[in-house]
Structure formats: C-alpha cells, structure tokens
C-alpha cells in the first residue's frame, strides 16, 4: 500500500446563485481505493464529482491530483485548456447514460480505440487488437468489434463505455451512477464486472450512487452527503451497519430488502 495519496479534495464548494450545492467538502483518496459518494438527489454528490472531473468550476477549494510524473497538480488552479488536457489523458469518466460517453456513429472498436489514438497510437492492427481484448474483458463478443453502439442493448453500451474509459488504464476513474437506468439483472452483471476490473487493475474510483447496495459491493469507503455537506464518512460496512448520523440512519433504514 503506497503512502502517497492519489487525490486530495479540500474545501471544495459550489454555489448556484444563492443556493449552495456543495459546501466545503474534502476527502483523500489513495491508489486502489474505491470511494462512494452516496445521498439522495440534490445532495450535491454529482456536482462534487463534476467538479473533480473539471466539468463544473468550483467557487472555492482545491482538487490536488498526483499526475503520472508524480507531481501534485491542483486541477482547480489550472487553466481550462490545461485542465481539460490533463483530465482527458489521466482521468476516466463513466457516465450514467452510456450514450453520453460514446460516439454513436462509429463502431465499437473505434470507440474503444479512440483514447488510444488520442494518446498517439498509430498502428491500426494493434489498436484493433487492443480494442478486441477489451471487448472480451467486458464480456462482450469480440466479433462485434465493427458493430455500431446503437446495435447494442443498454447494458452492453454501458460495458462498451467502461471499456472505452479504462482502455488507457487511467489511475483514477470517476463514475456517475454507472448502473443506474439498467435492469436489475443487468446491473448485477455490470457491478460484478466493475468489481473485478477495479480490483484487477488497481485503479482508484470515485463513484456516485444513490444505491447503497452498489456502494456496499464496490466501495471501500463511503461519504454520505446531504444538502451539499458530508454528514458521515468511514469504512463502508461501518457506515452502513452502524450509522451514526440521523440522515444516514434514515437512508439505511429506507432500503427495501430484496
């Protein structure tokens, strides 16, 4: 276990006019850890994720990320161009709706290959080969490499998006409700896949979910958010089995047992 954190978020805040969406949130993430941000809609968890991803500009705070070279960079302090380039190169993002994270007009292979090509890959055969490997890794048929994403089901599109997000093996991946909107059985398969990939690749993940079952399965640690603030945090099973804060207790007790 390395001693240097991968990501340190400090006093991050976002206000939309008079309404505070995120109030001074901070946390540290180490390599290989999965951190879940849980809460109901309006809790600020998605805004927080988007600030880390550089898609929303914070009003205050810092997002210090340890880049490939080992330097620590505050993403908030970078120019927009630098931030976008860094995020594109080193941080993966999995959207809730796979269509937001895919190019629907080009083949599955082109979708998975694009991050490689953006990073400078120039050998068609190798790109294709890597893309096929990744299709297998996300348990899809590699013979469908040339099919368009629109010919896949929702669950398969999500797998495709995951392959595209992970193909360059970024050290940090941000996921926004990766299994939301999918059938329950499809969700289970996808969670299983994510669990294994995250474990095998040793990547760090910040995961937004309103589903405590997803959090329990995937996350080492949990941040419970309510109205823009973190009301409780800790090791996942501790927060879910011994919730301290009234809101956490409410969340936990509201889960319908299968």
């Amino acid at each position: 276990m390395s001693e240097v954190p991968l990501l340190v978020v400090d006093h991050l805040a976002k206000r939309y006019r008079e309404r505070p969406a995120v109030r001074g949130v901070g946390f540290t993430l180490w390599p290989g850890e999965v951190l879940a941000l849980v809460g109901e809609s309006g809790s600020g968890k998605t805004t927080l994720l988007n600030m880390i991803a550089g898609r929303v500009a914070p009003n205050a705070g810092s997002v210090r990320f340890r880049v490939e070279s080992g330097d620590i960079v505050d993403l908030v302090a970078l120019s927009e161009a630098e931030r976008r380039m860094l995020v594109r190169r080193e941080i993966g993002f999995v959207h809730q709706n796979p269509r937001d994270g895919l190019r629907l007009s080009v083949s599955a292979g082109a979708n998975i290959g694009e991050p490689l090509m953006a990073a400078g890959a120039r050998h068609y055969g190798s790109i294709r080969h890597t893309a096929a490997l990744w299709l297998e890794r996300v348990e899809m048929d590699p013979r469908r490499l040339d099919d368009l994403p629109t010919s896949f089901s929702g669950g398969m599109q999500q797998r495709l998006q995951i392959a595209r997000a992970l193909v360059t093996e970024p050290r940090l991946v941000l996921m926004d409700e990766p299994t939301g909107g999918l059938d329950v059985s499809v969700q289970a398969k996808l969670l299983d896949l994510l669990r294994r990939l995250v474990g095998d690749l040793g990547i760090s993940v910040v995961l937004v979910t309103h589903d405590l079952g997803v959090a329990r399965l995937l996350a080492h640690r949990l941040l419970v958010m309510q109205q823009g603030e973190v009301v409780e945090s800790g090791v996942t099973d501790q927060v879910l089995d011994d919730p301290q804060h009234p809101y956490t207790q409410l969340l936990v007790s509201s889960v319908l047992a299968a």
Partner: protein, 283 residues
C-alpha cells in the same frame, strides 16, 4: 496587359479590406495550418464559387503580377475563365495559362503537375476549412480541439474507413498534419496532389469565403497526410496513360465521349498536357 475597367478599385476590393485580409494572411503564415477568421466581403458571385480564393488573390495581386486560374486543372472551364476575366477587368493584370510563367495561381480542386518554384503563390478555393466538422458541428468545440491538438477523433474516422472498407477512403480533401501541430484540410484536391504540399518552395494560401477563414502553408513547411503505420498513405495510380500526350505520371480525367460509354483518359492539367505535346511527346 489589359486595361482595367473604370469605376472599380484595383482588384475590386477597397484598400482597407485588402489590408485586413493581408493581416489575416500574415497571421496564417505565422501559424501554418491554423484557420484565421477574416471579415469576408460581399463579392459579385455567390458562395461556393470561389469567393474566398478571389478575396485572397485580390488582396495580394499587384500590377506586375501574372495570374493563372484553373478549375479541375483546366484553364478553359467556365469558372476559371470567369475568374481570370474578373481580375483582368478589375486589375488590368497580365494573365497566362502557363504554370511556369505565373506569379499567382488560383485553383479549385487541383495542384498543377509542373512543380512550383520559389516566389510563386498558389491560392486555393476552400469550401469547408474545418477538418473536424464531420464529427463536431460546434465551432467552439473544434477551436478547442485545435488549441489542444485533440485530434484523436480524426484518426477514428480513418480507423472506421479501414474497418469498413479495408482502406482509408478519402479520395480528395485528405486531411494533413502541418508542421506536426495543426490538422488541416487541403481543400478538395485529390490525394494525388497531397505530396506536392509537403515542403513546397511556393507560398500556399487557402481562402474559404462562406466560412470566412484563411490559412496558409509558408514555403518549405512539412505537411504529412494522416495515416496508420500499417496502412500508409498512398496516391492514386492509373494503368492507362493520357491519350493526348502519353503521360503516365499525371492525374488523369476520365471522360465519356459518346453515348456508348466510350472513355478517354486525359491529363487533368491542360497546361501540362499542352506543354508535353509541344515538346514532342506522343500518346
């Protein structure tokens, strides 16, 4: 030298406009391959007919220049004739069909076979200057992509071509990388002509009238056509030769000559073909 028609400023545009366009050209030359916006004027012909090229030519042409205009390689097509006449009337400049004798060559869709020399300027007519437009309709996004050299998606198109058709399909307007930095569209010249862009001793200027963009390749700029290591860029080749002059090296037009579908292959570059004939070449 023809006499200019009275009532028009030299080369039609007012001096302030020419200055503005020359500034844009200087900027374009300073950043090879980068699209410089300019305040395009209303020209006496519609968009799609070469207004960008005409504005560039109008801004750089002087009374001592000798102008050649070609369209699809030929001096005698309607558009080439009209544009040449336009400058003869409004600038009174000398015109020519000989590539080697021209100081400025305005072109649509071809680069002449005769190699260009230092001191010559080629002006290209460009319909769509943005190489990423097929992928991204938003101007704000394509500008960002150029600024960040975010060109992975262009390779996606090439990849997709190979996946679908076994080869990169673009026959003309084949995308190039300029000086290893900017992605550029060379205008709808056939891929056959792309190698002529690389390190050309001439100054190459590109004008898009409708989109109001100018870009440039100063002399000796490295220009590389995009490809994959295992699918390298290759130009077209014919098994036939020109049936007029016998050339096996030039870009050939395929012409249907009768109702039975008989085809003739002739050089697209009329000046080149004529010159070869004059020198005694035979089919």
């Amino acid at each position: 030298m023809t006499v200019a028609t009275a009532g028009y400023n030299f080369a039609y545009l007012d001096e302030q406009t020419k200055r503005m366009i020359r500034r844009a050209i200087l900027k374009a030359v300073a950043v090879p391959g980068y699209q410089v916006p300019f305040a395009g004027r209303e020209m006496p012909l519609p968009y799609g007919w070469g207004t960008g090229g005409i504005q560039v030519t109008a801004s750089i042409i002087g009374s001592e220049d000798r102008l050649k205009v070609i369209d699809q390689g030929a001096d005698d097509t309607t558009n080439a004739v009209s544009i040449r006449r336009f400058f003869a009337k409004t600038a009174g400049v000398a015109t020519t069909t000989r590539t080697s004798e021209a100081t400025i060559i305005q072109t649509r869709h071809r680069i002449p076979e005769t190699p260009l020399a230092a001191g010559q300027i080629m002006v290209f007519q460009v319909p769509i200057p943005e190489p990423l437009r097929w992928l991204e309709p938003r101007e704000t996004e394509t500008r960002r992509m150029h600024a960040q050299a975010d060109y992975g998606s262009m390779y996606v198109k090439l990849y997709e071509d190979i996946a679908r058709m076994g080869r990169i399909a673009a026959a003309y307007d084949y995308p190039v990388m300029v000086a290893g930095r900017y992605l550029m569209r060379p205008s709808p010249i056939p891929r056959f002509d792309n190698p002529k862009l690389d390190r050309s001793p001439a100054l190459l200027l590109f004008g898009a009238g409708r989109e109001k963009r100018i870009y440039a390749l100063p002399p000796h700029t490295p220009v590389k056509s995009l490809d994959f290591e295992d699918h390298p860029f290759a130009i077209e080749r014919w098994t036939e030769r020109c049936q007029r002059c016998g050339s096996g090296e030039s870009f050939l037009d395929e012409i249907v000559v009768d109702d039975r579908g008989t085809r003739r292959f002739v050089c697209s570059d009329t000046d080149h073909c004529d010159a070869r004939l004059a020198n005694g070449s035979a089919p």
